[in-house]
């Protein structure tokens, strides 16, 4: 099956962006993630962007119900899921209408013709139900119209499955076809199906048949004369796996807890797009992971606080609306000075906002969103694999500095996948909890639960430790003893001590480094979070065109490290692209009095590299 058997030519491609789109019930996400896995296993670099509606089953055939999965794979290093698509695979008219704008001129459309009947055309809003596949409007593209429904049904003829179940195999026909188109073996997809349907032999057989039928269709149909090949990417030597951001976060949390020698307690309430962290953690109970699906967001964080109080690592995750509910409890954890990791997988806001779309608009919430002065270190992951590293770092900081830590990711990197050269457990930084020493008989010295070390960190005295009984709470406490104190000067002292402790956290993180481009010059593009890939690609291209541009990406976001001011001053201009109205820009301007300019996109969609490049070029002209 590896080698083309008929008179087909094979053309090599450096990188390909393919977008699968269809109804949210069409199995698009599965098709996309499977093809991603296959390419990753083959050795391509991959970057993905799943994009789906908030409704589980939006009205069939409508624009609102279109689910998409964009995959960028290549024989070169990739940093984004691609600005524009080379190939658009659409299961119905709505999917075409919603996504045609993302297709390059001259790109290829593979359309399920059955999804272009008059009803589908009407639902998609094509005027007079005019079929774009036949009316000539797609003349600038290569269109392959394939009746996927019919051919899937034909392939499954004779099987006792109902028509509905047979039609559910359509996505496998498509997967089989694209595997053929890009000269990939079906082995990986077959293995996946065996795992998924192992206990349902009939469904397994049907899915495999559809997969094979799609492949053979490409092989035999005379419509397709060319297949493509994308060679493995020259990635750094090593062993890789594919990982999504949410998986990376979950694994980083487990790894951190393991290295700290702590049980992991995860209190959470289901919310898009953070729930996959709960799902992943719940699978790994043999690591001492305890997951607790709480009655609400407040109970989720409070249970995690209770667990940390008991000497475990308490963790909670949510998205913006849930984080808002956790605000008071974050203040408590800050006041108690116990370890706690709070993950915010950001989505479009405010309020319920755009649950399945991405945004970076919770930075102010993370930095300022509590009553009183309650600074909490804020970390931000920049890619799916960086979610692992930053989750690990969040654990390390929370435990070693006895503080809640907020980790910001977002829907784009949480659901996106990329190859990951995973670390060895032994190479991960050690994490040492600052446990107090239980008293022995005869030791009469008074235990001071808020006596700080040189980092400003108090000892972690856990119930059960003899002689260290003490009371803590949200009320202002006396320095040292932790007893209730309303003394005015003590309060000011404590506010300053707690802030100083948090400030010292960034003395214990890697120094800032330009991630790409020049370290001084005309323009610095300063980013945080999931804009990394788009900025990196833009800076690469601009450097190649001779601009003196640098890219600095903040992963330890708050407090700022001191040298940031000096770095900013080495450039004539500073541009800060953000998927919000300019939150980092405001913080930077306030802290460093730098006249940074913003590039702000608030569409629930990630930046394209082209958008960043265009804004940067424009800025350079000023």
């Amino acid at each position: 099956m590896e080698t083309p058997t008929r008179t087909k030519t094979v053309e090599e491609r450096r990188n390909v962006v393919i977008l699968f789109a269809g109804d949210s019930g069409d199995g698009i996400q599965l098709t996309g993630s499977q093809f991603t896995d296959t390419n990753a296993l083959f050795g391509n670099d991959v970057s993905t962007f799943p994009n789906f509606p908030a409704e589980i089953r939006a009205p069939q055939g409508t624009l609102a119900g279109v689910s998409g999965y964009q995959l960028h794979f290549g024989s070169v290093e990739l940093f984004t899921a691609g600005d524009q698509c080379d190939v658009l695979v659409v299961m119905n008219a709505a999917a075409l209408r919603a996504n045609l704008g993302k297709l390059k001129k001259g790109g290829t459309i593979i359309a399920n013709s059955d999804g272009f009947d008059s009803k589908n055309l009407r639902l998609a809003g094509y005027i007079d139900q005019q079929d774009p596949l036949t009316d000539g409007s797609l003349a600038n593209y290569t269109v392959h119209s394939v009746d996927v429904t019919k051919m899937t049904r034909n392939a499954l003829e004779g099987m006792t499955l109902g028509m509905k179940e047979k039609d559910r195999c359509k996505n496998m026909f498509v997967l089989g076809f694209v595997n053929w188109m890009y000269s990939r073996s079906l082995e990986n997809s077959e293995k996946f199906l065996e795992g998924k349907f192992g206990k349902k032999p009939e469904l397994l057989e049907a899915n495999k048949k559809a997969l094979l039928a799609g492949y053979n269709y490409g092989d035999t149909s005379e419509t397709f004369t060319t297949r493509f090949e994308v060679k493995p990417a020259p990635m750094p030597k090593g062993t890789y796996r594919s990982i999504t951001g949410n998986q990376g976060t979950a694994l980083g949390l487990i790894a951190g807890a393991q290295k700290a020698g702590l049980d992991l307690f995860y209190g959470s309430y289901p919310i898009t797009p953070a729930s996959d962290i709960l799902h992943e953690l719940a699978r790994h109970k043999n690591f001492g992971v305890k997951t607790f699906q709480a009655e609400d967001e407040i109970a989720a964080i409070c249970s995690a606080i209770g667990a940390s109080y008991g000497g475990a690592l308490g963790i909670t995750a949510s998205s913006g609306p849930g984080i808002a509910l956790k605000g008071e409890a974050m203040g408590l954890a800050f006041m108690l000075e116990i370890p706690l990791v709070i993950v915010n997988v950001q989505r479009g806001g405010p309020s319920t906002g755009l649950p399945t779309k991405t945004e970076q608009a919770d930075l102010f919430q993370a930095v300022h969103g509590r009553n009183g002065e309650a600074p909490i270190p804020v970390l931000a992951a920049s890619t799916p694999t960086d979610c692992f590293e930053m989750a690990y770092e969040a654990v390390r900081i929370a435990v070693e500095h006895m503080t809640p830590v907020i980790l910001l990711t977002d829907g784009y990197i949480a659901n996106g996948a990329e190859p990951w050269q995973f670390p060895q457990a032994k190479d991960l930084k050690p994490i040492t909890p600052p446990f107090a020493t239980p008293k022995v008989a005869g030791d009469m010295e008074k235990f001071l639960p808020y006596l700080r070390d040189e980092k400003g960190v108090r000892p972690w005295a856990v119930p059960g430790m003899a002689g260290l009984q003490h009371r803590i709470g949200g009320i202002e406490k006396e320095d040292g003893t932790g007893n209730i104190s309303y003394d005015p000067l003590n309060h000011e002292k404590m506010v300053r001590l707690r802030a100083e402790k948090v400030r010292k956290v960034v003395e214990n993180v890697p120094p800032l480094d330009i991630s790409n481009g020049v370290d001084s010059g005309d323009l610095l593009i300063l980013g945080w979070g999931s804009t990394y890939g788009a900025i990196r690609t833009a800076v690469n291209e601009m450097a190649a065109e001779g601009h003196t541009v640098g890219h600095l990406h903040l992963r330890y976001l708050f407090p700022f490290r001191k040298e940031l001011g000096a770095i900013l001053s080495r450039y004539k201009r500073v541009l800060i692209p953000e998927m919000n109205s300019g939150q980092l820009r405001q913080l930077i301007r306030a802290e460093f009095l730098v006249d940074a300019k913003g590039l702000n996109k608030i569409q629930g969609m990630p930046f394209t590299a082209a958008e960043i490049k265009a804004a940067a070029n424009e800025y350079l002209k000023q």
């Binding site: 607790f292 009655e295 109970a299 008991g310 203040g331 060895q424 003899a466 949200g474 209730i484």
Partner: protein, 347 residues
């Protein structure tokens, strides 16, 4: 925070260990909380558990200052959330003895959601719900247990809200231990505390507690010598429901409790409802004896242990799953987890 003349090593706490902390108790003079603190201290002393193995978690309110006054581990948390904090603590530390201190505002208003979930999950904790039918710490607003018409600072024309029947609410949430006690009956309170502590699961004790500043006398009819016998019903497992100094009893007429006279020959002890603390259906009726005591023929208010059921605790189920996962898959291997099993190698 131990005093100098005290044995600090708690691993074998001598009977005379003092469980009080060095902090000055700061409730209003005459507050019912003093008595409850005293009874808890007494019970702890009698039991003699090592201090370091005891944790008191509270929310916000007058009663929630309680943990500061005991030389155990303690957390004075945020309003209404103690049940959630307790749930996380118990999940990771099933070895500790955990007590939760809360009030009617803390656990029935702002924390009502957490309380019912604590009960259905059956977290092993002794919950002392101080009910004074008023918001004391915020200086006198009506609470979710204040009677309709209660005139308070926030309800000058009388409360328009129907109050909760706390124990009926808890029974509805499938609590496995339900009891009622009062600050003015220390002996009975201690008995209930001991039973509550012996129960594995959430032990919920509603304690009527007099707020002598903002709601003085709310429970007078149950606590004063002259009225107490006629308005209280002390239930004991296996014993008939008798009150009014033995002159009256309660029998079940079908599902309906009725008061009978034990002195005029119309009824005898054999006719009475025998309290069975293991009977869920009868407990559901018992918690419903909640009449306004001002009404003619009102049912007396029951005190004592209403109900005890055996049900596994959520922390035991959480930990059993961890053990089961380890038994099936072995202790987690971090390198195997990181590789995920589907890898490819370059170079």
């Amino acid at each position: 925070m131990t005093t100098a003349n005290e044995v600090v090593n708690g691993s074998a706490a001598p009977a005379k260990v003092n469980y009080a902390s060095d902090q000055e108790v700061r409730w209003c003079p005459g507050c019912g909380d003093y008595s409850i603190l005293k009874q808890v201290e007494t019970v702890l002393k009698e039991q003699g558990k090592p201090k370091e193995e005891i944790v008191f978690i509270s929310g916000i309110g007058c009663s929630s200052r309680f943990p500061y006054y005991l030389d155990t581990y303690g957390m004075h948390s945020i309003h209404g959330r103690a049940p959630a904090i307790v749930s996380g603590l118990r999940a990771v530390r099933p070895d500790l003895s955990v007590w939760m201190i809360t009030g009617d505002g803390d656990s029935l208003s702002i924390g009502g959601n957490h309380l019912i979930h604590l009960l259905r999950r059956n977290v092993d904790v002794n919950v002392l719900l101080f009910n004074n039918e008023i918001y004391g710490l915020t200086k006198g607003q009506y609470s979710p247990t204040s009677p309709e018409g209660a005139v308070t600072k926030s309800t000058p024309m009388g409360s328009v809200d129907h109050p909760f029947n706390p124990l009926a609410l808890c029974k509805g949430a499938d609590a496995t231990f339900i009891a009622r006690a009062m600050d003015r009956d220390p002996k009975q309170l201690r008995e209930v505390l001991v039973k509550a502590d012996a129960h594995r699961g959430t032990s919920l004790i509603e304690i009527y507690q007099n707020c002598n500043v903002f709601n003085d006398g709310a429970f007078e009819v149950f606590t004063e010598k002259a009225t107490k016998p006629f308005h209280t019903l002390f239930v004991e497992h296996g014993k008939p429901l008798v009150f009014a100094n033995g002159t009256k009893g309660i029998k079940l007429d079908g599902m309906t409790p009725v008061i009978v006279d034990l002195t005029d020959g119309t009824a005898s002890l054999e006719d009475l409802w025998i309290h069975d603390e293991r009977d869920s259906f009868k407990a559901s009726i018992l918690v419903r004896l909640f009449d306004d005591q001002g009404h003619e023929g009102a049912m007396p208010r029951p005190f004592g242990v209403f109900y005890i059921a055996e049900r596994s605790t959520v922390e035991s189920r959480i930990n059993a799953q961890v053990e089961e996962a380890i038994a099936k898959k072995g202790v987690g291997d971090l390198d195997a987890l990181l590789s995920g099993g589907r890898t490819w190698t370059i170079g």
